[in-house]
């Protein structure tokens, strides 16, 4: 990574931390966007607390998606599970094509308002990239490497843990990264069903016709997305470097 890129990222991180901990410092920048003496900075709760709970629900949902999608990906690439591949693919695809807002609408009557329906929506929405990447990673392991592993007397479990998963790891990580980024943005709609998150700031702005609020919510989510995307990209590249095929700069 070039020095300039490091400086840019450090600056973005600094900006984010400063903004969520002491938003009043930035009031001067947002004041021109308000009308009728409306507050320039979100004043209905702590931005820091909203950011943390936003991150928490994204982390939990992604963790759950990862566990299920990776487990499913492993299962359908084993001889015993191969016949379930088309079925699993369809199910995961439905999770992706079903709009999260519709999931919320269906989930609320079942589990009530709050974090739970948001969690369900994000969980379903995040499955596809991780599942597909797990499949791609596992089926992309060279048949020669597997033949050698088998020929040396590794049993199925040893082959999975010592050869297949380590080799598929960079691709699986890329799927997780994609899922996290999608969830970060999607999680804002959770605020429509009373989940604590940065969506609250945006919705408050929409309701009071306050562009400054909308922009603040959007800005924090965007900074989070950029920084997390970069951070996970670094982890991925570190994993890929060990395999001798560093990903190109687009990661």
């Amino acid at each position: 990574m070039s020095v300039r890129a490091v400086i840019l990222r450090a600056a973005a991180l600094l900006l984010l931390v400063a903004f969520v901990t002491a938003p009043q410092l930035f009031a001067f920048a947002f004041a021109p966007l308000t009308a009728n003496n409306a507050p320039a900075i979100y004043n209905q709760g702590s931005l820091l607390a909203l950011t943390l709970s936003h991150l928490r629900i994204v982390a939990l949902a992604t963790l759950a998606s990862t566990v299920l999608a990776v487990a499913l990906g492993i299962f359908v690439t084993r001889p015993k599970g191969r016949e379930f591949l088309p079925l699993s693919r369809s199910l995961v695809n439905i999770g992706q094509t079903f709009p999260p807002i519709a999931v919320l609408a269906i989930a609320v009557p079942l589990v009530g308002f709050g974090e739970k329906p948001t969690f369900i929506a994000l969980f379903l929405y995040g499955l596809l990239p991780i599942f597909e990447n797990t499949l791609a990673g596992l089926t992309g392991v060279s048949p020669r490497t597997l033949e050698a592993a088998k020929g040396m007397g590794m049993n199925a479990r040893q082959r999975l843990w010592q050869v297949e998963l380590p080799l598929a790891l960079p691709v699986i990580l890329a799927g997780i990264r994609l899922s996290v980024i999608i969830s970060l943005g999607t999680a804002t709609i959770g605020s429509t069903v009373a989940a604590k998150g940065l969506g609250e700031v945006i919705i408050a702005g929409l309701q009071s016709n306050n562009v400054a609020f909308i922009l603040q919510g959007g800005l924090v989510v965007a900074l989070l997305a950029v920084l997390i995307h970069d951070g996970l990209g670094l982890v991925e590249r570190a994993a890929a470097r060990r395999l001798g095929r560093p990903l190109d700069g687009t990661a």
Binding site: R144, G151, M152, G153, R242
Partner: protein, 312 residues
């Protein structure tokens, strides 16, 4: 000793290996040759049970391999494939340590063994132990592949086209190295190839396969002088025959008593090399010297030529 008894493999109506039997003596190199699709690799893979035989059995030192659990059997049999299948995410040392680690050797024993093997294959441990496979040349990868297969001191080594992806110059060197290491360790080897030169260079015995059947299993010289079928004759190459035969014998076999002038030929050289020397230098006879350089006899073109055809 490896005894292959009536091994067959069928996939549906397709017979890939048809009732093949032969025996490989302790410390011998048996080379299986044939055209592609002849069933060579399948035969090899039935020895370590990567392919389950449809019929027949394999005995290792008298023990039926089906009585040994698959993984345990494979821990005891080294396996080298074309392209080697090195683990790209593991260092050279970790690759070599694969089977010892599966067997639960302690760390110190593994480290000692890895170092020993790197030395044996002329790879400086300080330089290579921590490298990853993609940082190695083809020849180095090949050596690591064989070292990995030998790590747990298997009595039997199976090799499927182990030199197939090397260029000709490195291939010759790799074959010589393998021979030297095999002579030193006394490992029994079954090697599959479609390269006849490789078969004659390495094989103590050669098994010729065609269309799933074993046509002939014999010493290289017998294959040349007494081919069992027309296909064997064709495969060894009729034009190549005398030269192959000469390459299997050393100057020792055709040496005559007496004296000759000129630069001596060493007694351990093959007759083929000796003939080349005689032709190139334009001499009908040259002296022969032993390893220390002392003259012990002479060798003539006529004497060599007599060995280039079956002795009636």
């Amino acid at each position: 000793m490896i005894e292959i008894e009536h091994l067959s493999k069928r996939y549906g109506d397709n017979i890939v290996v048809d009732d093949v039997s032969f025996t490989i003596g302790e410390g011998e190199i048996a080379v299986v040759v044939g055209t592609s699709g002849a069933g060579k690799s399948t035969l090899l893979r039935m020895i370590n049970r990567l392919v389950a035989p449809s019929a027949g059995r394999v005995l290792i030192d008298g023990q039926d391999t089906t009585t040994i659990p698959e993984d345990e059997l494979r821990h005891r049999i080294g396996y080298v494939i074309q392209g080697y299948g090195l683990f790209p995410h593991r260092t050279v040392a970790e690759n070599i340590a694969t089977v010892p680690r599966l067997l639960g050797w302690d760390k110190k024993r593994i480290a000692t063994r890895v170092e020993e093997l790197l030395d044996l294959f002329q790879l400086d441990p300080g330089e290579f132990a921590r490298k990853f496979p993609h940082q190695l040349s083809g020849g180095q990868q090949q050596r690591v592949g064989v070292a990995r297969a030998l790590a747990a001191k298997p009595a039997l080594l199976l090799m499927d086209e182990p030199f197939g992806s090397l260029d000709p110059v490195i291939r010759g060197k790799a074959q010589d190295d393998l021979l030297a290491i095999q002579r030193r360790l006394g490992t029994t080897i079954v090697l599959v190839t479609h390269d006849m030169n490789e078969a004659f260079h390495l094989g103590d015995r050669i098994a010729v396969m065609d269309q799933a059947r074993l046509l002939q299993y014999a010493k290289p010289a017998d294959l040349l002088t007494h081919p069992a079928e027309a296909f064997v004759e064709q495969l060894v190459g009729t034009a190549e025959r005398p030269f192959r035969l000469l390459s299997l014998m050393t100057v020792q076999d055709a040496m005559e008593p007496g004296h000759a002038d000129g630069e001596p030929i060493t007694v351990s050289a093959t007759l083929r090399d000796a003939l080349a020397q005689l032709i190139w230098r334009g001499r009908p006879v040259l002296p022969v010297a032993d390893a220390s350089g002392a003259p012990i006899g002479r060798i003539s073109v006529d004497g060599i030529l007599k060995h280039g055809r079956p002795l009636a």
